[in-house]
Amino acid sequence: MPEAEAGPRHPAGLAGRPRWRVRGASMQGYDHVRSGGWCEDSFAHTHIPLDDPARPDIQILAVADGAGSRSRSADGSRLAVSTALAVVEQGIRAHWRPESAPEWTALLQHLSEQVIARFVSVARAVGGGDKAIGDFATTLTTVVLAHPVVGYFSVGDGFVIIRTGAGGRSNLHLVDSAVATAQDASTTTFLTSHTAGAVRVNAIYDEAITGVFISTDGLAYTTLARDDDGQLSLVERPMVDTVFRLLDQDDFDPLGLLRLLQRDDVIAATQDDTTLLAAVLQR
């Protein structure tokens, strides 16, 4: 089922304060449309208010991609994003709050372990035992925007792109992707897998960050390509740049993101559920 959401409107009385605008959309893939299946991707975000006129509120974003082969993967992806938001918000409030990128990395490493443990615990309880946990198989990518730090942890094949400054391809940076080699393109790790060592955690400190884009693997093939060294990088004219520019506009209707995901050439290129969740900084 397609989803697009507008996120909270700007509260009155905070004019002049930098803030993040967050918008997302999700669309089930061609095969799911044809068979009447659910979209097995999920996304969610929340924020933690800051009493700091110079900094935007902290934002927590999560996307998840349920494994198509598993019977409760749609439930799994929803459980993953809700668990991530709850655990990370609680963790940040409790540790209020790291400043440096290494401190954020350490916190997110700790919180990622809590997220996975709680996810597995709930899946076991809901599914009725250890054997049912695998039915909830899903990836999860969680990003925390604590300007000027962007931190994330990721299990599976989601990816994270950062915009600095005014954007344009040279100011877009692929900071995380699991598909490091062509041989890995058909493999992924799920929260229900043996995740020890498979969780990618990092935090970046950069005052110039103005946008963050996260996605499940469905859009990887429209966004990423291999460069001359065989390394993944952004395609020549990345659609991410246009998405950021649209979100910069105050009156952009986020349903437009669904229109993008429903384009025939996007469907043809992805053959998968597609999800994007993006944030742009407004000053």
Binding site: D31, A182, S186, A225, V235, D250, D251, L255, A268
Partner: protein, 250 residues
């Protein structure tokens, strides 16, 4: 004006939304930079003569035509390998060629055309499946050079009999192959689907079960159209297991 549009606030401007639609429709989407490699490994031995080969040819012709304009055509490549008439053969379109050739049998789904197959000879199934594995690995090497990724390759094996050697003697040379396929599947380098059609006997059925324990099926009639639909679905979602309830009982 919808409630949602009204909620956009004072800045909402219909002309702006129309401009955004133009912007969205104008976003450049590059062609897929990954491939799904599919080997169709088909029995053309003498026991397929008559109705079986006729139905297979009809199904392949119609399916090839539909695949040319399919939404996944840009990212999917097919290779046809036959075993039986002429021994083990690679095909590109209507042309068959020596399996020892370095030439790849993979063609884009957009350009895939089906030959008219003839039925004759014995059932060198093992040799054909091994050739299928080899052509996948060779194509992956080419794709690596082209900096193109791939999803887990698929092989669809369709047969009506027991494996034989080149002289037509029943052979057990497929037994070590079963273990090799398991190893490839565990490393996500291949998924094999094995389909039996009449008059496959109990030994032939057991062979397919051993080759593809999770993805084998025996049909009671020559329902090749159904088989090709299942193949198409497996390409659309290469990671989806073909469970028993996904299959239409014949």
């Amino acid at each position: 004006m919808s409630a949602h549009q009204r909620s956009a606030g004072a800045g909402y401007n219909p002309s702006s939304q129309e401009q955004y639609v133009d912007v969205i429709d104008g976003i450049s989407i590059p062609p897929p930079n990954y491939r799904v490699l599919v080997v169709l490994c088909v029995d053309t031995s003498s026991s397929m003569r008559g109705e079986a080969i006729s139905r297979l040819n009809d199904a392949l012709q119609g399916w090839a035509h539909s695949m040319n304009s399919h939404s996944m055509a840009a990212s999917t490549e097919f290779a046809l390998i036959t075993f039986g008439a002429g021994g083990v053969l690679k095909w590109r379109g209507t042309e068959s060629f020596d399996p020892r050739s370095d030439r790849t049998p993979f063609v884009s789904a957009r350009e895939f055309t089906a030959p008219v197959l003839a039925a004759d000879g014995v059932t060198p199934l093992t040799k054909a499946v091994r050739l299928g594995i080899d052509v996948i690995e060779a194509r992956k090497r080419q794709l690596t050079q082209e900096r193109v990724t791939w999803r887990r390759p698929l092989m669809w094996l369709v047969t009506d009999g027991r494996p034989t050697d080149d002289r037509g003697h029943f052979s057990s040379d497929w037994q070590p192959l079963a273990g090799e396929i398991r190893a490839l599947e565990q490393r996500r380098k291949l998924t094999l689907f094995a389909i039996g059609v009449p008059p496959i006997d109990d030994v032939g059925q057991e062979t397919l079960r051993q080759l593809a324990p999770a993805n084998y099926r025996i049909y009671g009639q020559f329902d090749f159209n159904e088989i090709l639909v299942l193949l198409e679905r497996s390409v659309e979602d290469p990671n989806r297991s073909i469970r028993i309830d996904d299959w239409k009982e014949s």
